[in-house]
Symmetry: D2
Subunit: 168 residues, 4 copies
Amino acid sequence: MRYLNDMKIRIFVTGGTFDKEYNEIDENLFFKDTHLPEMFALGRCRVPVDIRTLMMIDSLQMTSAERELIAEHCMKATEDRIIITHGTGTMVETAKVLLEEIKNKTIVFTGAMVPYKFGSSDGLFNLGAALGFVQSLPHGVYIVMNGRYFTPDNCLKNTKTGFFEEIQ
Amino acid sequence: MRYLNDMKIRIFVTGGTFDKEYNEIDENLFFKDTHLPEMFALGRCRVPVDIRTLMMIDSLQMTSAERELIAEHCMKATEDRIIITHGTGTMVETAKVLLEEIKNKTIVFTGAMVPYKFGSSDGLFNLGAALGFVQSLPHGVYIVMNGRYFTPDNCLKNTKTGFFEEIQ
Amino acid sequence: MRYLNDMKIRIFVTGGTFDKEYNEIDENLFFKDTHLPEMFALGRCRVPVDIRTLMMIDSLQMTSAERELIAEHCMKATEDRIIITHGTGTMVETAKVLLEEIKNKTIVFTGAMVPYKFGSSDGLFNLGAALGFVQSLPHGVYIVMNGRYFTPDNCLKNTKTGFFEEIQ
Amino acid sequence: MRYLNDMKIRIFVTGGTFDKEYNEIDENLFFKDTHLPEMFALGRCRVPVDIRTLMMIDSLQMTSAERELIAEHCMKATEDRIIITHGTGTMVETAKVLLEEIKNKTIVFTGAMVPYKFGSSDGLFNLGAALGFVQSLPHGVYIVMNGRYFTPDNCLKNTKTGFFEEIQ
């Protein structure tokens, strides 16, 4: 049996709740640096990963140009397995852009509903799940949230519950 | 495309560092209840899972009879996707027993090097990864640690570093 | 030597950042229940305390009538040592009201800059300090933040740094 | 009113559960560096403190010579307010040595039942309480645990419950 283990995984960081921090002076959430490296360290992860921050934004502010930028980076990447951390608000929208443009890679979007820095975050679990799926799913674009994977053309974020669901 | 998402995953708990707690009176680690349900809740997991505790032991104490018991439960389970939480010390040994006996299911072993209760544990990450792999790998018996998956006949735990490695 | 240890301490909860929680759906902070009991449990506290929630508000919204209500509860309390958890925004203002009205009790205000639920909070440290000071300072009204104690007529919150300081 | 706030507090670290870490390879607890600086930072503490590590040991292993060393450092310190972090096992014994030898300082012993690194520790609460008591109690030697303070000649650690109690 051939192992995927020696394949490097590309990680693109775009921001989202995942990486938000709490400013105790003005009581708002803000972005500083990504927490991905410390999350992989905490998970004692030994998969070779290459992490690059493309942007640090709330996905509700993401523009079409920024979506194109993400797509371009995915196309140019030498790795054919890619994880993208992304705000949950417009994750499906960005995934649909990539679904159109990229056919020969396995691309997994993931994010979090609670910032990693808050301690009680779903982020570490989601990152583990994303890493599992990205190494074993066939080429395609996927959303990995709540322990599940979805294809972007058949899912939405339920804004009432915060869970991702299939479209009936 | 057919979703695996509606498939229930069976979880068998056998103990291991994953579920150890700290006794502040005698400063030893001990077992009480499994933390799996709160870990799935923290991960905001929406995959239907059915958790059953088979035993709560340090895997260095696990007997052949107990390994047979685990195998038997896997065979009898109606689910064909199973996660087993297990101490890392003899995880490979138990996985080899199952590899002999069970051919038509996807069985993933996972564990942790640091107890979940200690806060800075690799457990939540490993559980996420296990859930990703168990939903997407073909039938077989696997070990999921450090973000990677291994087959039991080709891996060992490096007792110096605590990482799992392929046998050259 | 006479111990204060058998004296019950009265705790009045008024809200503030201390007790805020994160709503992962709308990404706002909100109030549910006070975390004081679990904080005392985590601290393995054995001082007899009686916790009562008077209100659950952001102190920037606190009215004069609510300040009077707090003063009234302090006066009526049978305990003469009282801790009040309070938002830091107007903590000094409320303390000044109590300074005018209550002379024969030791009253300590404390709060937090980061919600307890975020894990990396100053709340547990502040609560410990407040409990230390309330048991050993003479009658008076005090603010305990940043490991220090202040009298309300001689301190302010530096809104730039979030630290409490003496007025020069 | 005169503030104690500008007085520097001396902190002597001697080890104890407070500073123990978990070795995930051999599953034992061990000492590396003290966590006091990060604990003060988490508590947003602004009291001037000077932290010195005298030893890093389990207090059950502490010798008479080491107790004398601690006493000597307390006597020589220019500060007259001192916190000593110490294992709970023989905290009372060391405190009794200092009670004999040092009369003109306020010395507070504190410790923890759960290592700070485990996340769910009583350490941060105890440190806050110790800082409150050390700034407000008269000269003497005290033990601060469980939110309370004790004099060393009138307390013991209940080894069944892990709580400190007065001798009847």
